[in-house]
Symmetry: C2
Subunit: 165 residues, 2 copies
DNA sequence: TTAGATGCAAATGGTTTGCATGCGT
DNA sequence: ACGCATGCAAACCATTTGCATCTAA
């Protein structure tokens, strides 16, 4: 990461009208249509590459990806996408709350498709991220922020190392 | 940050003999001698630039610095140091437990002179870090790591934003 | 004397940007 | 058609590295 782009705080929920009820009839279970709808809901035009990236990201359940990983997957999937677009898309998705950027400090930026309240294990030797069930880490009493500030988010990263290296 | 260097886990304490008793007589309170001793204790040769950087870092109480900040301070203090040496020194200090690298994900790496158990506020707009008193955030029950792994460290970053931007 | 430190500049590598071209609405 | 999206390549910037020169022990 090179420039300081604030990690999307909380969830700056959709600017567009949230569908009143998610009754999707026969579209249910069709990832492709789900992605299209997801994009519409947040006001992003469902272009070919956004659809493809969204499909890769959200079809397989919770994931932690770097730009490079996503780019590679897209390429393998024969989806023509440039790395710049992958970066753009990841950031746009993050801005609208579809993704969450995880601060592990490593050299790369990680994006998490799970935008619910939860924290992470980080395996240092492998640069590998995994979710910790929300129930498993309890942040006791949140600290009182200084005057004029409020808590945007609390990140907990539990760093793991191999037992007795 | 460009390459993935694992954040120094726990505190890989000194390789050298820890002084049996810190009875320092008239040296007490002299930051310069303290730094020299600190370096000796961890087995680092007290060179001119390490002394100077150590003095800048540790004389003023708890601090959070980036390589650039430390470099600038040293330069202002008329201490001839190259940026590369600042990086080297920061990492060496971190390896021996004199510093602690903080993962805020930002574009830069932060180093904290407070290596005791504590967590951080991070003010997103200002890229500013501050300590949270250890008592103020309670990580309830630490999560159970996967088989074969143990917890190296738990990092908690409380991200702050200005109230009602 | 000599292993370890330092400085400089060049290389690295993730990420961003500028601008011409493409595509969804 | 209009304007956002995309691709490419160059720019960026924090950090690292190679190597020749110094310096603490």
């Amino acid at each position: 990461m090179t420039q300081s782009r604030p990690i999307a705080p909380g969830v700056p929920l959709p600017t567009l009208q949230p569908r009143p009820a998610p009754l999707r009839g026969d579209l249910t279970g069709c990832p492709w249509h789900d992605v299209k709808e997801k994009l519409r809901e947040v006001g992003l035009r469902p272009t070919r590459q956004r659809m493809a990236l969204g499909w890769i990201l959200f079809a397989k359940g919770d994931r932690h990806v770097t730009a490079e990983m996503l780019f590679e997957e897209a390429t393998h999937a024969k989806v023509p996408v440039s790395l710049a677009t992958v970066y753009n898309t990841l950031h746009q998705f993050t801005e609208v709350g579809l993704l969450r950027q995880v601060a592990v400090d490593g050299s790369k930026a990680y994006f998490d498709t799970n935008n619910t309240e939860h924290h992470h294990f980080f395996i240092e030797d492998q640069n590998d991220l995994m979710d910790i069930p929300a129930s498993d880490v309890v942040v006791g009493k949140p600290p009182i922020p200084p005057e004029g500030y409020e808590i945007a988010r609390i990140d907990v990263v539990v760093r793991l190392r191999r037992k007795q290296g």
